[in-house]
Amino acid sequence: MDTFIQSIVSGILTGSLYAMIGVGLTVIFGVMRIINMAHGDMVMLGMYGAFLAPTFLRIDPFLSIVIWIPIAFIVGVLLYRFLLKNIVPAGELNTLLYTAGLSLFIANLVLLIGTGDYRTIKLKYAIMPLRPFGIAVPIPLAIAFGMAILITVALYWFLVRTDTGRAIRATSQEPEAAALMGVNVDRMAIITFALGTALACGAGVLLAPSLYLYPTVGEILVAKCFVIVVLGGLGSVPGAIAGGLLLGLVESLGAVYVSVPYKDAIGFVIFLLVLLFRPSGLFGVGKS
């Protein structure tokens, strides 16, 4: 029983971060209909941001999120404005290939500047895990979980309550009708892409102390990210949150009850089954 609760807890903790990455990808897909293969590399850049923070900025890796999120937002704006804007009208497959090129470019640039070594971040305050009710909760994951919830709630509030948020959702549902209602669709695309990039980068900062970081980590993260958004239905924000939590749970329960080596495969098998039998996602809210 203890193992069960333990794996549920760690599943939810990791899942919250998966959810944050997934939300970024899904809003981008919703508004622009593009599958951003470079999304995982934005997470990777966030992870390196957190890694560099103590040396260069002399602040805690987690605190550096307040610097990296705005920077990632600006990077997102520039990427969209100067690189993606002209590609998106050329169709989904061209964008897929283009962002795959971008992904390879970013990962190899980091490989070239830094090295391919696996790195970890050591936090002074995070040597022993917390033990509430006898369940081990690693401190870095607990902090990341709290911050991920804060950010996701803030994003949700932004999408539901603000005018820009409403305009983004309208564009996502029906771009032409939104344009007729006076929504600047192009502007929404820029904001959404920047937002998605900022979320990915933020999630990277939060993940960094709990994972190994290396330049090509984005490859595996982006694959997981697809699992998450397809589980929840492409384009759906609540779906991506649920998908992220679900993948976190599947991985941690799978590691305990099925097998550690195959825990990643379980996620992909579920992904294939969902793609084949419920292409609009487990909750039937996405667009296929």
């Binding site: 283009y98 390879l104 190899n108």
Partner: protein, 314 residues
């Protein structure tokens, strides 16, 4: 012009080891030709039927492991193992095709990525067959005499001729395919899958056939890879990065063209391998950059564009 260029290119292909020397250049040419085969393999599916696969390393890995396991466990020489590896890859492609081709466009691409990851994890954990993450190693290749002389496997030249034959085969197969019914069906599917279906093409069957042919060449290239490098492990032959590299070579060279993969491989691999010699890491940076430039400015690829120029001149 074709009548001059093609025989010249073939003569050049088989005399190249006498013209250039030095192990690095022979290695470079071997890599260019191996990637030509992989690019041609991807082009058969991605270029002709328009189905973007991000999981072609599955077939490369299947071919590599088949060749390696046959040699190490049953003593089957690699020159039999390589074509058998291609056939195994083509067989594996059948169930994958019937499952994944229920999906279209980007969804198909994502499903192939998932299949490739599942297979990589299986290869990593099925230790009794694949030796797991430790990988498989060939220490010596069997002795072969060719025209009375024993072949020196320590030199790279024999490998060059083997891959030259395979690459020629892949290019010829692409040409033949483009002339057959399968090629015509594929193009119809690429242009508009619903219309193709409506005029009575069995699109699942045609796509599976193209995938299987494509997988055969990826498997053959995989078998060659295993024999040439003499070492494979799951992360080396089943990686997402390899699948992506195949896509890049085919797209940069020019999709749906016969010579495109060769041009793509010449441009990307030459630069990539030279870069690797100089800086050791990050040689794929140029692949990413070229991909972005090509998609933005040359959607028909380098060879596709050159062909247009030649076309207008003559």
């Amino acid at each position: 012009m074709k009548k001059v260029v093609i025989p010249l290119a073939i003569i050049l292909l088989f005399t190249a080891p006498w013209i250039v020397s030095g192990p690095f250049f022979v290695h470079l040419m071997i890599m260019v030709l191996m990637w030509t085969v992989l690019g041609a393999s991807w082009n058969i599916l991605g270029g002709f039927t328009g189905q973007v696969s991000f999981g072609h390393s599955t077939f490369l890995g299947a071919g590599a492991y088949t060749t390696m396991i046959l040699y190490l466990k049953l003593g089957v020489a690699p020159w039999y193992g390589i074509p058998i590896g291609g056939l195994v890859a083509a067989l594996i492609a059948l169930p994958i095709g019937f499952i994944c081709f229920r999906l279209r466009g980007p969804y198909f691409a994502l499903s192939t990525l998932a299949v490739a990851e599942i297979i990589r994890l299986v290869a990593l954990n099925w230790e009794s067959l694949t030796n797991g993450p430790v990988g498989l190693l060939i220490t010596t290749l069997p002795e072969v005499t060719f025209w009375g002389r024993s072949i020196d496997w320590e030199s790279k030249t024999p490998f060059y001729y083997i891959i030259a034959v395979i690459a020629l085969g892949a290019i010829v197969a692409t040409y033949i395919m483009s002339r057959t019914r399968l090629g015509a069906y594929s193009l119809a599917i690429r242009e508009d899958i619903d219309s193709a279906e409506a005029i009575g093409i069995n699109t699942v069957q045609a796509r599976v056939a193209a995938l299987s042919l494509s997988a055969f060449f990826a498997g053959v290239a995989g078998g060659f890879y295993a024999m040439y490098l003499r070492y494979i492990d799951p992360d080396a032959v089943f990686s997402i990065a390899l699948s992506v590299e195949m896509v890049f070579i085919a797209v940069v060279g020019g999709l749906t063209t016969v010579a495109g993969p060769l041009i793509g491989a010449i441009v990307l691999v030459t630069f990539g391998e030279t870069f690797r010699e100089l800086f050791l890491v990050g040689h794929l940076i140029f692949y990413g950059l070229m991909m972005m430039i090509v998609i933005r400015y040359l959607p028909e690829g380098i060879w596709g564009k050159l062909r247009l120029w030649f076309g207008t001149r003559s």
